[in-house]
Subunit: 427 residues, 2 copies
Amino acid sequence: MANWQTLIREQLEKDRDEATALLQEWVKNASVQGEEESIQESIAKTLASMGLDVDLWVMEGEELLSHPYFVSPRTVFTGSPNVVGVWKGAGEGRSLILNGHVDVVPAGDRAQWSDDPFSGKIEDGKLYGRGATDMKGGNLSSLLAISVLQKLGVKLKGDVIFQSVVEEESGGAGTLATILRGYKADAALIPEPTNMKIFPKQQGSMWFRLSVKGRSAHGGTRYEGVSAIEKSLAVVQAIGQLEKERNDRLDDPLYEKLPIPIPINIGVIEGGKWPSSVADLVKLEGRMGVAPGEKMEDAKAEMAAALKRLAEVDPWFAEQPVELEWYGARWVPGSVAEDHPLMNILHRQFEAVTGKRAVVEASPWGTDGGLLTALADTPAIVVGPGVTQVAHYPNEHIVLDDVFTCAEIFALALIEWCGVAEQNTQN
Amino acid sequence: MANWQTLIREQLEKDRDEATALLQEWVKNASVQGEEESIQESIAKTLASMGLDVDLWVMEGEELLSHPYFVSPRTVFTGSPNVVGVWKGAGEGRSLILNGHVDVVPAGDRAQWSDDPFSGKIEDGKLYGRGATDMKGGNLSSLLAISVLQKLGVKLKGDVIFQSVVEEESGGAGTLATILRGYKADAALIPEPTNMKIFPKQQGSMWFRLSVKGRSAHGGTRYEGVSAIEKSLAVVQAIGQLEKERNDRLDDPLYEKLPIPIPINIGVIEGGKWPSSVADLVKLEGRMGVAPGEKMEDAKAEMAAALKRLAEVDPWFAEQPVELEWYGARWVPGSVAEDHPLMNILHRQFEAVTGKRAVVEASPWGTDGGLLTALADTPAIVVGPGVTQVAHYPNEHIVLDDVFTCAEIFALALIEWCGVAEQNTQN
């Protein structure tokens, strides 16, 4: 093993500049929802040049669109293909999926970025740009794990399936499409930005929309009306109370260090039409966390009950109940045993490479891991080099050293998990 | 006088159907901001057919646009002309402006209307539609006051100046334009919807915009961020506290019966971009009442101070103070002595026509009256037949009997105020 580690590390150092340039190129490609075609074609080419069996396709079809776990604001994905590249093994080894999404969230308020949100700029060992951390840096680690072993002439026993999917940020339709296309494996790694913590359990989440009613009136006689803006204050407070109750009863030690393990975030508020009128409608949109192992239907029922209880504190809500709608993005929670064989491998290789013990936690956000675990019988573990705090944030960046550290750990994990069939040391 | 009252009442009854049809036509004309051309041309025609000197013009020009009291979201008013019709008097009498706006606010949530918002439908003695009460019904009362005296062969001493203006709902640019064009008089009546209460004092008001800051983060780790939505709750509560303080200290007996005489209404809220992200910016837009006799600058200073005090309850506001902007619509408060000669005339004629004493109050909302009082040396009194509670509301309507009662009172007031030069009883 020590030999592998040295060989892998030296090869990664040789390839570092070229790999860094590739990541920069990926980050500069603004692959927001609907704009993923060029980066996916480029990735497909890269995989083909590595001798992988490449599958590049635009997802469609009834089976996908009517699947109970299909979630997307759209049903036509032209311009947003999926890419899968399979590095076939010699046989009789465990297979591994390396899954990552290529879609990135919008840049947000440009004024809060120091540079162009898609600059790819490198400064002080960090590479900047939307998607650097979430999660193109991690995808590079996966790619490097394969390429470094190839350069070392390794042939594995088990297949390695590299997946670059779309639509993760909106609910997982891309990964769902790979599952329906038949891709499965004995396990999966997803290098979402975890600060290199290992998440054997992943939070689910669901988007909700609340409609808070009021009664219109002229602003000068506002007491004639009922302000939906004032009523929404009570709703926001009730949601905060529900969040507190749900988190207070968690006892999973994996969540100990998180201030709010299973948050309910209200992300958007919009209501009222005219400064001189009392607002008669306010909409709130947000995201509710679902604990690993919790049924999504149970979480939904708790939200509905909390909103119903509002009528007890304010009779207005008995007259005009808050409307609740589950819509849009939804991530299935996932759960892998903490002593799963792949977990043990990751622990071992993490210590070997970094000299430290890995931190194990439950993830604070949804990923496509739950889909793989629940639908494809592919236990998924989430671990990656990105900086959690800057995902979806202005001035998103990744620490380049972490990308290569993760690549090293992944390469070693591939060796242990898939097994080595042979090694050709002619370079 | 009894003779005038009988003559006027009988004439109004003769003209009732035709007048009702005219109001219905006005209400069906959806004269929202920017869409007033056709109704104004129709009104200009009507005034011309009554022999008035008609002035129909689109306001423009530096003097208007750079005037300190100019307020409008736009600077080009093509499609939104003003109309003034002057019924010249014989001379040596007091003149009177009958001012009314023709622009109406948007219909709002269509689902809350029983019929089309511009139906003009008549049912149980009420005429329905946006603008019926605010304030086309009142404008008809003004028009009828002139036409009924003309039909009775009356010639007044003083001029009567009928004004149909635009841009009242946005801050008074239309009336300002009439003032800059030179129209002034010894007094003015504005039949805004007062339920036939007489308002010698009118509230001013100003539109404000607040920007509440947060700090963005992923919704799953929302404790890394600061929710501008949560912070805006504190801001809304602070505004409520300021409103309470300002109203608690009022001692004008005219305001006794109003629950909140000088309200601060927050009418619009908008913030956040993504359900899965912590909102980093929320905007609130609203309307702050200014008491008659209060300086607008003093009211502005109180708002700024209240927002500053937020830092004492939450250090976030010291780090990221709420931004305050005064924008858009502003109505100057107005004040006429309660024993002004025109007030006495109105009291007298109100009792003569209705058999009851008029109720005198201070208005709960801004009107163009303040501009006339402050800028044109034209004391303005607000009194009109509309139903205050349904202005800006779904299912807005007016009681037709009230329109004709008001017309009768106005006609008698014209006789007393302007004086009769002669009467030709040949019809």
